[in-house]
Assembly symmetry: C2
């Protein structure tokens, strides 16, 4: 799975890219490298082709990508992108995650809590406006002025907040600011999903590996006013096998890359952030694995969380391996040396970044560990911060709480979702114990978070005492604002309020020592790159719409050629009978009907990253031939750099999905809908 | 706790040291730096003093140090060194670990399974003999010839295997080989231990930290023929507070350091070994923490294992931090550059090591993960290997199975110890799942270990099916040799036999590409250091007897002076009422009697490492004023280098132990015995 892994969000200000190598690049639609692609492939799409594809591309706010594939709002994405929807709709009696879901009729499609689908309708350059707001400010004043300008632009850009959303996207680490306008669909429902084992065959061991036998696909549908929306600009569904070597495009929303972090940012990530992340996440994984063995209910209730944790952990470990590989980091250092040699017009952004990173280091552990981990705590924190921020004018609020951001935040906070107390307690207990471990028992922040309580005791009392699992309670607190928050005796609200001042203080300190210097240095570095390499560069990923070109191709692994595709029949050969290599039950039941030679999954050279999950894989004709759902193991270093000889995108073919729709998890209505002209 | 953390044993061949800075050094008794200490301290012990101290120093084969402190075989060590003895003797009805143990009479002292006490009686130089055995061999032939010579020397050195033990110790990474002869006592019993909370107050959060409030002390007694042994050469018990600045000696068995690893060995450790170790150990910790919450029985049964895991993990994380600190590694690189500049008499051992490390890298994961983790599996593996090796002549056996090594191995394998199936299953399941994760589902080694089974399924069937928890079954297999092993249908024996060939193959490959080149390079590096710096160097730690000198002193932490001691009364101030900061029940019960100003724990500049746990802390007069039980957080980098401004040994004072013996966990007979002239 290639879930968006944005764990380093405090440091995720990205840098403008150096010239891209073959097939490298996550390009914005307003700067497609037509000449470069023509040189490499002898052909490139024209503007009409690009416009058509852009109009069919969907962003899912849960952290995935997708595409419209019928005129009635049908959306193709990955199974792992909608697993939480299955999970939220499941009970012990009806475990949709385990057995899959096919809506017998449209009106039986399942609402997906917190999910929203968005289509880019316009991109406009607001760089000058935003940069002008910096004036001669420094420190927190600078980031405040910038954020106020962004809030103003976003608010002015989308007056109809019911159907549109505006976001200013920071590109090239502050070299450019672009306003993205979206048509949004906030009622998203599930139409079809295979059984879990079909999507997750091979489980964590096979995740980020290939050859692969995974039906990581599903269909959603966008609704408005209780009706499927009309989507005439959909992409064409093309259920055919890929051809080795054919050109492919991946269109989606890569979440976050750090390809041109300066050396001090990479060093901080390698030396501090990743080791802490891997150690603490591994322990959480262990606690959850064991807890899930305690009962079938816990097995079901914890699965979605565990899948997310294991996926992220594999990413972190892959990133750590990349940054601990001197050959890999040597290339990054050479790229930096080349740019430094060309200079930044008298400025020295590298030293600015070095200083900022050094100043951020002592803040890191405190900032990281003063944010307890639990769904219920997150609700409380959001309710507290939203109440505090909404009391201020739009331009003075923290970025996540401006008028343009509030509708989705409100939806996410108030949508009904199941909450499992045992799981909440487990996460909260774990995260509080890490506070004490990493900050020390005598640290003032540990005292603030724990007082005289133990992590176990505090987690139990907060989870048992809070009523925030009830959406009506959350709604009353959201609607009631600061008055309701202050009057609340809900222990989780009281706790979130107790932590809020310190969290703000740390956030301000981070903006001052890191965010503000980086806003300036990022802009200088971007200008240096534009001067050195022209506009033949792509910005680091920012979970905004991008297009990548490449081709269907295997790769050489320790002297052996890895084939470019697998077949449905291969599933039966790989199955061992033991989880997670047990063949999906519907595969076994329908074995005689399934075409064993049908292409199952395939790999391409497209350059992707977490957040691209569910992206349509598109051929020259502009038709959809698959959904990207993973990268191979080498792609885990893709956060920092792309290597075309090794990095691969893993795709589930439309050929396999069509076979599944017809024979394995039959959905005749969808088959008909997808085939309609 | 400073348990011996020998996890990198495959690479733990250590290198000769550069000149030691003030207070740095784990010196052998045959090369005490008298002149250097006199220069630093104006005084140094004479040979009679050194001999006296050596005769009272005890090694505990469980991985700790200790000292005789009465003429009747009474041994002072740490509580955490005997926790497993309490644990092995506990049941749900009598939880000695929780409540502590005071033997009402000598004949009620508790036998400690697997434990053996050893006193060095003679050290002789066998360097020429061992080096001559290399001949012109290379690769595996070289290490075989060396190991055969060592087996021969050890066998010849100790003909009375009932009361003596011989070990050839490799010093300076192969620069010297010394024969250590020990008087051994294989019947060791527990006389006194405080309640667990007194020893572990502050738990994992306070471990490796100071100020500290820990009664990490206990008393064992050596027996022979059912009677306490006579130990006229014991050290004198001196229950007095330490004086700030006074000279202290720590005498014990530091387990393993890597202070003069070459840069490529350090890089491998930082880039590969430590990240894998921290991630996998963290997950095991999480699984165990959660499992222990499932019932009070599991809480008790898992505690000793969890303490060991958390202690090791803190060491690994501290080592990782040290090796990810450019200021720290810069000093190591400077030391290497200095030696390289002086040269190695035409040889180039550094390149030899680089090549050996590069050749070992691809073997590492396979070697690491083909060793499943479980007590029952370890029994099976030992029984299989011992049977196979004992069938060969002494000189042809693997090092751990020579005649000199067999008595302790047999004792450890056959001593009765409780085995908890749930804990066995947990560890085995975890370790098998890591095989698949790190080697990949399709790897031949994964296939060998798992076949078509899942980690969960295989762990359950092996643990449920084996009878090896029964010492009589183990004894029958030990005594029956290969015939009994081959005839056994015990699934764990069958499994261990199935893995043995591959384990041997990997061990041979490691010897060939790493062990043999390192034997040569280590010798060359040691010679280069002797040539450059004379004999003012100490060898890396090898769990053999050493002496360190230093003084009682606090240190500066972020601009603040950390005091050199704590008092018993401070315990009550620090207690929160929540685990692990709940005051020990006997402290609360006896608060009125306890002298609040009595020194509890204190810190010294002595240079120690895991394995030194339980070491007597000795004053100029040669009397015991404490037992070393920990290092401060800075000492975790001590594996690679010592910094006298920061590294500290943490000691429980005899003053506090005496107070405990008299008032908190009363043991009047011991008080009398310790006071006897």
């Amino acid at each position: 799975m290639i879930r968006s892994a944005l764990f380093l969000s405090a440091c995720a200000l990205a840098f403008a890219a150096a010239p891209a190598t073959a097939d490298e690049g996550m390009w914005t639609f307003d700067n497609f490298p037509t000449a470069k692609m023509k040189a490499d492939y002898g052909w490139a799409p024209d503007q009409a082709w690009l416009n058509r594809v852009q109009n069919g591309a969907v962003r899912l706010t849960g952290g995935c990508s997708a595409s419209f594939v019928s005129p009635q709002g049908l959306i193709l994405t990955n199974h792992h992108c909608i697993a939480s929807c299955l999970y939220d709709n499941s009970t012990a009696a009806t475990d949709y995650l385990d057995r899959g879901f096919v809506a017998a009729r449209r009106d039986l499609e399942l609402k997906c809590p917190g999910q929203q689908a968005e289509v880019v309708t316009r991109i406009s350059d607001v760089t000058n406006d935003v940069k002008a707001s910096f004036g001669s400010f420094t420190g927190e004043a600078l980031t405040k002025a910038r954020d106020a300008k962004i809030a103003e632009i976003e608010k002015a850009g989308c007056t109809d907040t019911a159907t549109t959303r505006c976001q200013v996207v920071t590109l090239f680490g502050g070299g450019q600011y672009k306003l993205y306008q979206y048509r949004k669909y906030s009622d998203v429902r599930l139409a079809w999903a295979p059984e879990d084992r079909a999507a997750t065959f091979g489980g964590d061991p096979d995740n980020f590996n290939f050859p692969r036998y995974s039906l990581d696909a599903s269909f959603l549908r966008a609704y408005e006013n209780g009706q499927p929306v009309s989507t005439p600009n959909h992409l064409k569904w093309n259920p055919r096998p890929p051809k080795e070597g054919e050109t492919t495009f991946v269109v989606g929303n890569p979440g976050s890359t750090s390809r041109l972090y300066t050396s001090s940012q990479l060093a901080f990530t390698r030396e501090v952030a990743l080791p802490v992340t891997v150690a603490t996440t591994s322990e959480l994984r262990g606690r959850l694995i064991r807890a899930m063995q305690e009962s079938p209910d816990r097995q079901r209730e914890g699965l979605d969380t565990l899948n997310g944790i294991e996926n992220s952990l594999k990413v972190y470990i892959g990133q750590s391996k990349a940054l601990n590989d001197p050959a890999f980091t040597g290339k990054l250092a050479a790229a930096e040396a080349d740019l430094r040699a060309k200079g930044a017009g008298g400025a020295d952004p590298w030293t600015t970044v070095d200083t900022a990173v050094a100043a951020y280091r002592p803040l890191y552990l405190a900032q990281r560990f003063t944010q307890p981990s639990s769904q219920l705590y997150s609700y409380a924190r959001t309710l507290v911060f939203a109440a505090q921020e909404r009391a201020k004018p739009n331009a003075e609020r923290l970025p996540g709480y401006t008028d343009s951001a509030l509708p989705l935040l409100e939806k996410r906070t108030l949508d009904a979702r199941p909450v499992y107390p045992w799981l909440e307690e487990l996460r909260l207990n774990w995260s509080l114990s890490k506070v004490r471990e990493y900050l020390g028992a005598d640290d003032p922040d540990t005292q603030l978070l724990l007082g005289k309580a133990s992590p176990e005791g505090l987690a139990t009392s907060l989870v048992n005492g809070t009523k925030l699992a009830d959406p009506a309670v959350r709604k009353a607190l959201w609607d009631g604002g600061m008055k309701a928050i202050r009057a609340s005796d809900d222990p989780m609200i009281v706790y979130a309020l107790r932590l809020a001042d310190r969290q703000r203080e740390l956030q301000r300190a981070t903006e001052t020592v890191y965010g503000a210097p980086l806003a300036i240095a990022g802009s200088q570095l971007a200008d240096a790159r534009f001067a050195a390499y022209g506009d033949s560069a792509y910005p680091d990923a920012t979970f905004s719409l991008r297009i990548s070109y490449g081709k269907v191709a295997g790769w050489m692994e320790r002297g052996k050629q890895v084939p470019f595709q697998t077949t449905l029949g291969g599933t039966f050969d790989r199955a061992t009978g033991s989880e997670p290599f047990d063949a999906p039950s519907a595969f076994l039941a329908n074995k005689a009907k399934i075409d064993p030679r049908a292409t199952y999954d395939f790999v391409t050279t497209n350059d992707i990253i977490g957040g691209n999950s569910g992206s349509p894989v598109i051929d020259r004709a502009g038709t959809v031939i698959g959904a990207a759902f993973d990268g191979n193991i080498h792609s885990l270093g893709g956060t920092y750099g792309y290597d075309g000889t090794l990095n691969r995108t893993v795709v589930v073919s439309t050929d396999a999905v069509q076979e599944a729709l017809e024979k394995i998890y039959p959905a005749p209505a969808l088959v008909k809908e997808l085939a309609a002209k």
